[in-house]
């Protein structure tokens, strides 16, 4: 009963959020985001879908606390304190996010080390996430020795090892080849189901959005973009590309982007 009640709890609530960048002399640019409204439940897999340049990454960076909004409200777990550690961020480029001078193991243990978790405990946790992310046998390798997909697994494991409540993912599979991407998508669903995290996943790939998300927020083309439509995807996992309702939804969503 408790777990069901928790599932309905709101994780992230955004009201009338806007964002404009200011340049060096303090001039404001046009609004990148305007009147963004968004509610995400705890444990939900939420997709932010939109074409390139619509500001979806900007929105994710604001949720992450990397950027300040220009106006509006952002509430995370009924708290608008900017405690960064309960959000884990998976970057698009593993090469720019991972620490190349640390091994797989050390990368995954980084957050725990910074929090001064005792070495024994850290080892156990790192081992657990190495296993979860399918990185067994790669402990002592350096990132440059791994393939693109493996690097993203390290990034995912590194973020999860800090046990964040919310997982923010910025087109994490965008740079992978199609085959690896499929595998990673399946893996992500498995990990999400095992860990019960709230996930916000940014993508411009409708198929990816439909394979992964429970809810899809469609962002309008910028400037002043906002979430123009929301779709509930009520299909069981693992989802099939050939499924009739899958294709129906695909065409529906595609129609938003057809001029």
């Amino acid at each position: 009963m408790v777990s069901i009640a928790n599932k309905e709890e709101q994780s992230i609530v955004i009201r009338d959020l806007s964002k404009a960048f200011t340049n060096d002399v303090g001039e404001q640019s046009a609004f990148v985001l305007k009147q963004v409204e968004l509610t995400i439940k705890k444990g939900e897999f939420y997709i932010l879908l939109g074409p390139s340049g619509c500001g979806k990454s900007t929105l994710l960076n604001i949720i992450a606390g990397f950027l300040e909004s220009s106006g509006g409200e952002l509430t995370i777990h009924e708290d608008n304190k900017r405690n960064q550690t309960n959000r884990g961020f998976v970057f698009q480029s593993a090469d720019s996010a991972l620490f190349p001078w640390l091994t797989v193991e050390e990368n995954i243990g980084f957050g725990l080390k910074m929090k001064k978790t005792p070495t024994d405990e850290r080892k156990v946790i790192v081992e657990q996430y190495i296993e979860l992310a399918g990185l067994k046998g790669h402990h002592a390798k350096f990132p440059k020795e791994l393939s693109g997909g493996m690097k993203q697994r390290v990034q995912l494991a590194r973020v999860l090892a800090n046990d964040p409540e919310i997982l923010l993912m910025d087109e994490p599979f965008g740079a992978l080849d199609a085959m690896t991407r499929r595998t990673m998508q399946k893996e992500l669903i498995r990990i999400w189901q095992e860990t019960n995290k709230t996930v916000i996943f940014v993508t411009h790939d409708i198929q990816e959005a439909l394979l992964l998300g429970q809810k899809i927020g469609i962002m309008s083309v910028g400037p002043s973009s906002k979430i123009s439509d929301t779709y509930e995807v009520d299909l069981a996992y693992p989802r099939q590309l050939t499924d009739v309702s899958f294709n129906k939804l695909y065409n529906q969503i595609q129609s938003h982007f057809d001029e």
Binding site: A64, G65, F66, Q84, T85, R87, G88, F89, F91, S93, S96, A97, F99, P100, W101, L102, F110, G111, M114, K115, F142, R158, V159, N162
Partner: protein
């Protein structure tokens, strides 16, 4: 038409060629060919010239033995090397933190960068007289001069290293709960290390330039003094001993530093 035997012979030839190519490649990598070539050209050139003008490698070696037999050569080398090492180490110790500080702080950077880019074009040699006035003619002024020669190269390299760190690395460390100090020590320093290493390595070269200049102007010891002194006695061979010894000292110091980089800093991807 080739018979089998002929083909075998051809194959054999190719193998011999391949093998000799491999041996040649290995030889090339040791650098032995370059050294022998240089010595040969030097010998031939010296053969057609006056030994007062261009002494041969052999004459230079003989001069080195003479200078070495009473130990004076080694004392000079020791002095020069100790000055370079002290100034270079101290220069790095000052330059690296300053480079990190300027690189991580926007306001400080806009304050310091213009001055940095002005002063760094003033060569150390231009400061010799001034440094002697300020710090005396003893060791202090020479060590300061080397520090000056080291400072700008290392500071600017460190600064560039800090600026080249991807925002993602800093952000990911932050979101994993690292404090600003932890980010500096565990992300910024290791990420900038290849740049710092290269800067320190380049600074070695400028250090040797500065020390020889300083020793020529004001010193009773050191390789620079030896070269300058040789002029008085028209001992061209001593000058050549000095040049070779300088090259050798720099070469060894660079190799030692490169070895240190390879063994200790390999995971930071330093170029050694």
């Amino acid at each position: 038409m080739n018979s089998i035997a002929q083909t075998e012979i051809i194959k054999g030839n190719i193998q011999v060629k391949k093998r000799s190519f491999r041996v040649g490649n290995k030889l090339l990598k040791t650098g032995l060919i370059s050294w022998v070539g240089l010595l040969a050209i030097w010998t031939i050139a010296a053969h057609f010239s006056d030994p007062q003008f261009l002494p041969s490698p052999l004459a230079t070696l003989q001069a080195a033995i003479v200078l070495g037999s009473d130990g004076s050569l080694f004392v000079y080398m020791g002095y020069s090397f100790a000055r370079v090492l002290a100034g270079w180490v101290l220069g790095n110790l000052v330059a690296i933190p300053i480079g990190l500080f300027i690189g991580t702080n926007k306001v400080v950077r806009s304050l310091f960068e213009p001055i940095l880019n002005f002063v760094r074009f003033i060569p150390p040699l231009a400061f010799i007289t001034l440094f002697m006035m300020w710090f005396g003619i003893g060791e202090q002024s020479k060590v300061f001069l080397i520090m000056y020669a080291t400072f700008f190269v290392v500071t600017i390299n460190t600064l560039t290293g800090v600026l080249s760190i991807s925002e993602d690395k800093i952000r990911s460390a932050k979101s994993m709960g690292a404090t600003s100090v932890q980010i500096l020590l565990h992300v910024i320093v290791p990420a900038a290390l290849p740049y710092i290493f290269t800067g320190a390595r380049l600074a070695m070269g400028s250090s040797f330039m500065a020390i020889v200049g300083a020793e020529m102007v004001a010193a009773n010891q050191g390789v620079g003094f030896m070269i300058w002194n040789a002029r008085l006695y028209f001992q061209t061979d001593w000058i050549f001993v000095g040049l070779v010894v300088l090259g050798l000292m720099g070469f060894c110091m660079d190799r030692a530093f490169g070895f240190f980089g390879k063994k200790v800093l390999n995971r930071y991807n330093v170029i050694s």
